[in-house]
Symmetry: C2
């Protein structure tokens, strides 16, 4: 009833033998069939919506031209443009993306990886890995990390230049006269959180400033709100807060409002990522722009390289970032 | 080298015959193996990351437990929560989602559908369909539309109650004293644009108001900007604009700013969807909340029903919406 059309259906419609239809549709053997016949077969295939049976080919070659893509949660605005970039990058090579959400739960990640491997996928692109990521390294298919990386560098990765971004923000705030800059850092176990935290320590040290840090439990507005309240109650003298990412920065906004302090009048706030619509926040958010879409495309490219040559050395690609100065930062009050 | 582990590898590790390992891992035959052996096999499978070969099963049963999900562009903030809902809904039944972006291009949609069918997927969930959608109806596998529907109702669909949403907005504006309400409608060929436009005509008629409409070429900020300029230059007397969706409403904001008119001081503006972060716009946007995530979950449920019973009647599920009143609407100036 809902049976997909087979090569026999195509042959019948085109009025040729199945073997002829098969040869006509295979680029490698098309030359063996005369051009008029080949066109008639192609037309019949198109009309019937015939697609070569990838499941059969998959079983024969043990590949499926499908990559598994795992993200923590597609609803976090950082991920849709990354996934879109991955999809476009894969498609150029005839690959498609199976997408799964892990909610950052290693058990859920493991289940998804197992389920995807059972479907004979050709590789993984993971935006979910923690810094240790013992698990991902065990996966015996080509794997690339995007936006995250592991400490030991054993898995190829594509990330934004987190350290450079934080240095840009600290310099920006220092130029505005701020000397008491606090950091609401992202989770320590994620490379994004950790790299930005380390860069904050380096940048404040080289500017001769005292580091003041509070860690948020997650890269979320709620966690950012709670951590900002802890940071400001311990250090009411701060005039600027660097948030670990844009969502944490939105949590800073609401926490500062709760404390009756204005942004940027009393306290300047910065984010990280330049996710969609932070230019429209009240106030619009000063942040660091990471090239989301390009991270995805580059990860796809790296995975395809890896599938072609699984034993090549694990490359790390780091893409440049830029400071986007908006209304949430202002000169320190004199 | 990167060969996935086979049942033989599992059997070897567990020290049993392959047939025993196979029986131990199949829930239907596990009872034929003694419990200690079954546990040893399960442990070996877990340690090796063994997954039953779905490609082989797929060829045998011609199903893959994979659904194809097509959206216009994952970067439009409406779609990530819908896709997340779909993924969660499918996963409960052991299904996964292959995701593709069409950019609203029918040719690209056709290519993706063909490529996905070649991978023996079990069904489609399309957020891309136009009202006519002759193509989607031809797809010989179970298909469900989400957020969109076709005029003839031949394909099951899950949509938000677009008409009720527009009626809520018109009543809200009328209660604020507005009598000159314009509509920047979405594209006519999409059910979302068309249903909201028709509801605007009905709602203004029953309130005894004159309808004034301009169509945007797309559901984008840019198209909304251009259409608002056309609408206001022809009808400078308007005191309120209902936008076809939130992105069009953001285009209204910038067009009105270009014309030197304030929101909501001079003109009230409403959106549709309540996409993430419109509560944070300047001014925060009055809109209609559609249950994005639930649309996705419901679409997954409907597809699974459809796969189980492909010839059952094509259901249409319409989920309720609610008015979210914020700062972009205010009483009309007296």
């Amino acid at each position: 009833m809902n049976r997909p059309p087979t090569i026999k259906d195509v042959a019948e419609r085109a009025g040729v033998h199945a073997a002829t239809a098969s040869r006509a549709l295979n680029p490698a053997t098309r030359g063996m069939v005369n051009a008029r016949t080949a066109n008639r077969v192609a037309e019949a295939a198109r009309a019937l919506g015939y697609a070569p049976n990838s499941a059969a080919r998959s079983l024969r070659t043990r590949t499926s031209s499908v990559a598994g893509v795992l993200v923590p949660d597609l609803r976090n605005p950082v991920f849709p443009p990354i996934v879109r970039g991955i999809e476009d990058g894969l498609r150029d090579a005839g690959y498609m993306a199976l997408v799964g959400n892990t909610d950052g739960d290693p058990e859920r990640e493991r289940e998804l990886v197992t389920a995807m491997r059972g479907r004979q996928i050709d590789g993984f692109i993971l935006a979910t890995s923690s810094r240790s990521a013992a698990f991902a390294a065990d996966v015996a298919v080509p794997t690339v990390l995007v936006n995250r990386r592991t400490d030991n560098g054993g898995i190829p990765s594509v990330t934004a230049d987190n350290a450079a971004g934080i240095h840009l923000l600290v310099r920006h705030l220092a130029e505005l006269g701020h000397t008491r800059l606090g950091h609401v850092a992202g989770p320590r176990e994620l490379s994004t959180g950790w790299e930005r935290y380390r860069a904050y320590l380096d940048a404040t040290a080289s500017a001769g400033l005292e580091p003041v840090v509070e860690f948020a439990d997650a890269f979320t507005e709620t966690a950012g709100h709670a951590a900002t309240l802890r940071l400001l109650s311990a250090h009411p003298e701060l005039t600027a807060v660097l948030a670990g990412n844009d969502l944490i920065a939105l949590g800073c906004y609401s926490a500062l409002a709760d404390l009756g302090r204005t942004v940027p009048g009393d306290v300047s706030v910065t984010g990280f990522n330049d996710m969609p619509f932070v230019d429209r926040q009240r106030p619009s958010l000063t942040t660091v722009r990471i090239p989301h879409y390009d991270l995805g495309r580059e990860a796809a490219r790296l995975l395809l390289e890896r599938i072609a040559a699984p034993d090549s050395p694990a490359k790390r690609v780091v893409l440049p970032v830029e400071l986007v100065s908006r209304d949430s930062t202002a000169p320190v009050k004199s």
